[in-house]
Amino acid sequence: MTASPTLAPSRRDSTPGVLYSPAVRLIGRRLLAAIPVLWGVTLLTFIVVQALPGSAAQQLLGPNATPEQVQQLEAQLGTDRSMIVRYLDWLGGVLTGDLGSSLSDGRAVTEVIGSALGVTAELVLLALVVSLALTVPIALLAARRPGGVVDRISMAVSMVGLSIANYVLALVLVWVFAVQLAVLPAIGFVPIGDGILDNLRSLVLPAIAIGFPLFCFYTRLLRADILEQMQGQDYVTTARAKGIGPWRVLTRHAFRNSLFGLLTIVGLNLGTLIGATVIIEQIFALPGVGRELLQAISNRNIPVIEGIVLVFAVVVVVANLVTDLLYAVLDPRVRHGNT
């Protein structure tokens, strides 16, 4: 696994001060690089939504509306202006922290997102926890004895998990745990303020529906990476020669190096993870951002779509940055620039 050269300290790093630390400079560079990325994402989204048939006014008014009624509402909503004017207007608002207003009900987009973001954030976090909490022990056990019982079972389960769409899995989970066993709720969200246990109960099935396919993917990847480390790396041979036990070599040496690959994939997969919330929130009737996004697309509510896509893009950019920073935490070579 190679370390990022961007974190290597330069001569100027000998100067005391946080601003010159490699981590801060990395963050600065990444944030600057993120600006064109975010701009590109918003522009592309705007163009794609424009290309869809129908308009917000038409969607709001329905099939009975006359062209005059549609025009009247478009004028009210400001959607009769050219695409460029509307985009620049929106972009100007973004620069001042104003994401615009929902075309459906006039609420500020920040309010729409703010009221739903907590649910999605909690769901994503829980899905991540579910997937990683299962991945690590099972991948370690599978890699300990390749071809053994745990390895075979985990591979079979992974195949199933990777083959099944998460919305089908969601329905199966509901049928088993909510309908048949009646141990978990089928729909709805309980805010954390109403009791942490009920809150977690309301998110367990959606989190599994999202997290399980990821667990399957991560397990295969981590297992393969650990096996590669165990079979071909000099430091493993050295450790064994020192008389360190196989389990300790696996967990303290090989696993630690394999974590880089896992971290990279988790960071890159965050977009997929967030994307999965759109359909899962719909099935479990969770009032999250994904559900808002689906409704906004259905209503051609461009300010809300743009706002949510922008927030998602920022989250993915930040997550990737955090992943890079974690390299430094995990690998002293990166931390000290000894690549």
């Binding site: 008014l61 048949q180 089928a186």
Partner: protein, 542 residues
């Protein structure tokens, strides 16, 4: 009015439907138009309790524009929420009759041009302000100016100026320039049926009002999270003594039939309105803990043919489609005879229903083949809205028509795409046509009147008949006129009709109510449930 549903979601959830079948209880299977499996003799009504009602997020469960009658552009779909908050001026009861609710009564002048509404005395809004004629007029003026599908003006004759006047504190009049027979019926599911408090509106402002509106209905709003959840509680000052029965109703938006069915089975909800996936309706009707009520259909599916463009500007091509279409095979094979046949624009739940039309061209493959051969082959595009029943039907039609030599390309649209497609060179569309009363809502004129943007027919004779049907006050004469219109459509082969679809309502045992566990016509896709009369004797819900 159409529902938005991801077809793929329904199809792929077949696995879960199959799994769900393992937990089946007693009850009867689907038996055609009716599958009510247990609410025939409901226990006596009692007060108290609360229920959770699920609404499809693609239809009734979407209220993105808020709940103000004049600005809720999805009002016709949001009847459950609107009716609980505002009550209704007029309500539809079993037997297809209209009764006054917040209106004490109404009369139509002998020339059919003036509709007089007498308001119920002593009614107050939940903010304490009086429910009087001035407030009703203010509501009517706002609602009639609204660019909304639930604004009934599009199916009304031209209005006089002024259109709405008052007389005293309890009488409101609507004035037309031409007679209109279906005026009282046109209130059901229209925004004029919901009266908002002007006092609260002025005090709160439009933006706040639409989020937490105030009416004189059986319930008041506790909380509203748009297109997610609406909680309403009993209005103790509701004018009907002892009503509503329930203390609280929670409407929850849910992503489709399968998720709703499972939530009911898991005991997390008490009712679901508008189940339209046939396999799930069949499955639900076998569950002993559920009452499944197949509603009365009013709008049959029809294959609209664009008579202004080839090949359907030639009656020979239209005849070929009539003969190549085996409706009975589709009804039986795909939908287990659940939806009754209709050869014209009326359904069994609607007024003026006639299932058959004399001389209607039914399936005859040999004749279809011959006509297609005479035309040197046929290639057509068949469009439809992206809902499961419509999608399945178009695929079946494609297969049937292929046997007659007609090559068919299927186009499936969301609502916006469908509207756009009607503005282009479309050839045929599978749609629903008709209404509870053909003269109102998305009635026959919507699909067949020359002036409608959604018609494939421009026939002055048919226009004349439809105008007469709307303006004639005598019901028997109206029946004759609509029979003639159906015959004309059939003779000219303007559009083969198929079957009259209607959704089903599901309720857990212990929850009962008119329209929920009894059959009512599906006026705007879903039937108008009478929420003040819904009660709970037990149940698994919250």
């Amino acid at each position: 009015m159409h529902r938005f549903k991801p077809v793929t979601f329904g199809v792929l959830s077949a696995l879960v439907i199959a799994l769900s079948a393992c937990g089946g209880g007693g009850g009867n299977a689907a038996d055609g138009s009716s599958s009510n499996n247990g609410a025939d003799n409901p226990p006596a009504a009692k007060s108290g309790g609360e229920i959770t009602v699920l609404e499809d997020s693609g239809f009734a469960g979407a209220w993105p524009a808020g709940l103000d009658p004049a600005t809720n552009t999805n009002g016709a779909a949001n009847q459950p929420m609107m009716d609980t908050i505002y009550g209704q001026l007029f309500k539809l009861v079993e037997g297809g009759k209209i009764e006054g609710e917040l209106a004490e009564g109404s009369t139509l002048s002998s020339d059919g041009k003036t509709f007089t509404i007498k308001l119920r005395p002593g009614v107050k809004f939940t903010d304490g302000s009086p429910f009087d004629a001035e407030t009703v007029k203010w509501n009517f003026d706002r609602s009639l100016a609204s660019p909304c599908t639930c604004n009934p003006k599009s199916s009304w004759p031209k209005l006089e100026n002024p259109a709405v006047t008052t007389s005293g504190t309890d009488t409101v009049e609507i004035h037309f320039t031409a007679p209109f027979a279906a005026i009282s019926r046109s209130f059901i599911s229209a925004n004029l049926n919901w009266i908002a408090s002007k006092t609260s509106f002025d005090k709160m402002g439009e933006k706040a009002f639409k989020q937490k509106p105030v009416g004189a209905g059986p319930f008041t709003v506790v909380s509203n999270s748009p297109s997610n959840q609406l909680v309403v509680q009993k209005n103790p000052g509701y004018f009907r003594q002892g009503h509503p029965y329930l203390d609280k109703v929670t409407f929850k938006s849910i992503g489709g039939d399968q998720a709703a069915y499972q939530a009911l089975q898991a005991g997390q909800a008490d009712a679901y309105e508008g189940m339209s996936t046939p396999a799930l309706v069949d499955q639900a009707s076998k569950q002993s803990n559920l009452t499944t009520t197949q509603m009365l259909s009013t709008s049959p599916y029809v294959i609209q043919l664009n008579t202004s463009k080839p090949p359907f500007n030639d009656q020979k091509a239209r005849d070929a489609v009539y003969y190549a279409t085996d409706t009975e095979a589709i009804r039986k094979g795909l939908f287990n005879n659940r939806y009754p046949t209709s050869q014209t624009f009326t359904g069994p739940g609607g007024l003026f229903y006639k299932p058959t039309v004399p001389g209607y061209k039914t399936f005859d493959l040999a004749k279809a083949k011959q006509l297609v051969s005479e035309m040197g082959g046929m290639q057509v595009t068949l469009g439809t809205i992206n809902v499961l029943v419509a999608k399945q039907t178009t695929e079946a039609l494609q297969s049937q028509w292929a046997k007659a030599g007609i090559k068919t390309k299927i186009e499936s649209y969301d609502l916006a795409g469908l509207i756009k497609a009607f503005g282009g060179p479309w050839q045929s569309m599978l749609q629903t046509a008709g209404a509870w009363d053909p003269a109102i809502g998305v009635g026959v004129g919507f699909r067949f009147n020359s002036h409608s943007p959604f018609t494939g027919v421009k026939d002055p004779a048919l226009d004349k008949l439809l105008a007469e049907g709307s303006g004639t006050l005598d019901e028997a004469k109206r029946q004759t006129i609509y029979d003639e219109a159906g015959k004309l459509i059939s003779d000219k082969s303007y559009a083969p009709f198929m079957f009259a679809f209607a959704p089903a309502n599901l309720a857990v045992k212990g929850v009962y109510g008119p329209g929920l566990t009894t059959k009512l016509p599906a006026v705007a896709v879903n039937p108008p449930v009478s929420w003040p009369d819904v009660y709970k004797t037990s149940g698994t819900g919250q």
